[in-house]
């Protein structure tokens, strides 16, 4: 019975494979960029590939979101039915590479000069064991403030340069009767903000040690305690109704002028654009006070799977098109992020995008480009989620003091390693 079932499955799979053999001119892509701007941005890539004669086929994912896509990918890979490429985040790429299912794009990378143009910090996730396994699509950075300019003018605020400036600015907003800080009380948003707080409180060296190297002494240091205290200071400025709010609703509060500022990654810019707001006149983008010169990043990647030989040409075409300067510029202008290679001209980008590109270049050269722990670029998912748990429990009061918070943080990270 079981043997028959296995033979049946094997037959079905081989049929599936032989069906694929005819489809060499096709790119099968698993992704969750299905909404408005993102879908439009991806369309550029589809057209680029169509020009070279490659058809685009979305791998359907029920339910949207990244989680559902990752579950679908796991099932496909377990069944030996690899897509040409899949949208992937951080350590997921390395997990799959360690499982030996990723392709090898080193030749293409050499030809296209990715080694030089893609920031070294990103290559940690796109290169495994000396082989290129993924093509980075963009670089997002999370240490940004998004400020409503009308409210800023009303309260007479100026760009905060230090954490204390920032607190003073929030006080001004509070006195003027607007919600000072728009925050969505979901664990990833709280932790994303805390990434910036740690960098601001401890500086680049400390951030790297604590949040990327997970050095235990740094994690339980007084600087970390102070970071938690600073987080508590910021949380005092949110509205009472913040818990569970989605990030885009928090952005909407800033857009409408109900709130002064949001600390969020640059994907928030997409919301401002969708509301027809322009940087400089309607909204302001500053680096989180005390973090200028450093960039905390996360990045979307297209992981390239070890497909049969007859599908490799399509894969190479996809990877080349993904990292082409024209696509990098066109896509990231729409997405709000900055190109994943540092040699793309910034002519088409708005003021915030131009600053983002310059900052990325500077951080890459100065060695201050760090992975965001909250976004899963500082440590594997188990650790990153344990970190989010602790930050969120601190924000919502299950963990009461910063002393307790660092103890819990060390314990949770140790547990998850």
């Amino acid at each position: 019975m079981l043997r028959k079932l296995l033979i049946g499955t094997a037959l079905a799979t081989s049929f599936a494979f032989s069906a694929h053999a005819a489809d060499v001119k096709e790119v099968q892509m698993l992704h969750w960029w299905t909404s408005g701007g993102e879908a439009a941005a991806l369309n550029v890539l589809k057209q680029d590939l169509a020009k070279e004669g490659y058809a685009w086929k979305d791998v359907p994912v029920a339910g949207g979101g990244g989680d559902a896509a990752m579950t679908a990918l796991k099932a496909m890979v377990a069944a030996g039915n690899y897509p040409t490429a899949s949208q992937m985040l951080g350590y997921t790429v390395l997990d799959y590479a360690a499982a030996g299912v990723m392709g090898d794009l080193t030749e293409t990378a050499k030809k296209e000069g990715w080694d030089k143009s893609v920031p070294a910090a990103l290559q940690k996730f796109s290169v495994y064991d000396g082989k290129w396994v993924a093509a980075p699509v963009n670089v997002h950075s999370v240490n940004w403030l998004w400020i409503n300019k009308a409210v800023m003018d009303k309260i007479g605020g100026t760009e905060p340069k230090t954490f204390d400036d920032f607190v003073a600015l929030l006080d001004k907003a509070k006195a003027a009767g607007v919600t000072p800080l728009a925050l969505g009380g979901q664990n990833w948003q709280e932790a994303t903000m805390f990434d910036s707080v740690v960098l601001s409180t401890g500086g680049p060296e400390f951030y790297k040690k604590a949040m990327n190297d997970l050095d235990e002494d740094s994690l339980k240091s007084d600087t970390m305690k102070k970071s938690f205290d600073n987080l508590a200071k910021l949380v005092a400025y949110v509205d009472p109704n913040f818990s569970g709010r989605d990030w885009n609703l928090a952005t909407a509060m800033v857009i409408k002028g109900d709130a002064l500022v949001q600390v969020m990654g640059d994907w928030a810019k997409g919301e401002f654009h969708a509301a027809n707001k322009t940087p400089g006149t309607d909204f302001l983008c500053y680096r989180f006070p005390g973090t200028d010169g450093s960039v905390i990043y996360n990045s979307d990647m297209f992981g390239m799977f070890n497909v049969p030989d007859d599908r490799k040409a399509a894969q190479v075409a996809l990877a080349t098109a993904t990292l082409s300067k024209s696509f990098q510029s066109a896509f990231n202008v729409v997405k709000g992020s900055v190109p994943a290679r540092t040699d793309v001209p910034d002519t088409d980008f708005d003021a915030c995008g131009k600053k983002g590109i310059a900052d990325l270049k500077k951080a890459n050269e100065g060695g201050t480009l760090f992975g965001s722990l909250a976004q899963g670029y500082g440590a594997p998912p188990a650790v990153a989620n344990a970190y989010k748990d602790v930050v969120s429990k601190f924000v919502h009061g299950q963990i009461k003091t910063s002393d307790e918070a660092v103890t819990e943080l060390v314990k949770a990270i140790d547990d998850a390693k």
Binding site: A78, G244, A386
Partner: protein, 319 residues
Amino acid sequence: MSTVAETQIKLTPEHDARPGASVRSRLQDLLPKIVLAPSFAATIIFVYGFILWTIYLSFTNSKTFPSYAITGGRAYQRLWRWTFESDPPSSWYTSITNMGIFGFLYIAICLALGLFLAILLDQKIRGEGVLRPIYLYPMALSFIVTGVAWKWFLDPGLGLEQTLHQWGWTSFHFDWIKNKDFVIYTVVIAGVWQASGFVMAMFLAGLRGIDGEIMKAAQIDGASTFQLYRRIVIPLLRPVFLSAFIVLAHLAIKSYDLVVALTSGGPGGSAWLPSNFMYEFTFKRNEMAVGSASAVIMLMTITAIIVPYLYSELREKSR
């Protein structure tokens, strides 16, 4: 005696002499088995096979992908340690205490409310045909729809509180859904709203099945309405209680989607149920071994409740 033996001897060759009939009758015997075989096989593999698979995985060191080398009970040790970490509460501690609170209140309130509504509807009132579906329809909604609707309704900035403030009752305060200590009770509210109508329908069917003569006899004997229900009706409804309990218990255990839609996990993960814990660890945190171990513990908990019930039911039947 000899005649019996003779007929038996006679019968056998006759039976063999008609091979066509024998094949057909054998086929007829087999037919139910053949029809059931696919679903039986599917159940064996996809339910019991995967239960064993999960138990196996819980003793490995599986992370993102299953790994097959048994490495011992570290996953269980971690869960056991987390069981007693109440300050600050570990995610597992939160999940299991929430399961206790939610399971108990959800089942108890649904049963009480369902019985109460059924008794009211059973008073031969006018318009029962309209009222019954009104209570019953929430059951037709998925947990996701219920969750989202109640999320908006309970949100202090959007729903009930905001509306009452606009109407002038500005001191009204109801922010349970934003409060880490009370968020699990909002899950109870939404769950009860959805299921109590269904329980009511079950009780109503039970009430309609009670012989009117018994009621009349009790009334003639001078029983008050309260005594009538307390001493006669409710004891007669015992089988309905049991069915309703089983339906509600399994709804309670699988209400993962309600928590996600209503609270997206609650402030600091304070609304998690064990099912949320299991999904989160297996698929988001790539700790498949811990996820599997928590699933096994859930299974054992359910078994501890269901097996005594089945045992008592079966014993009663065999008596």
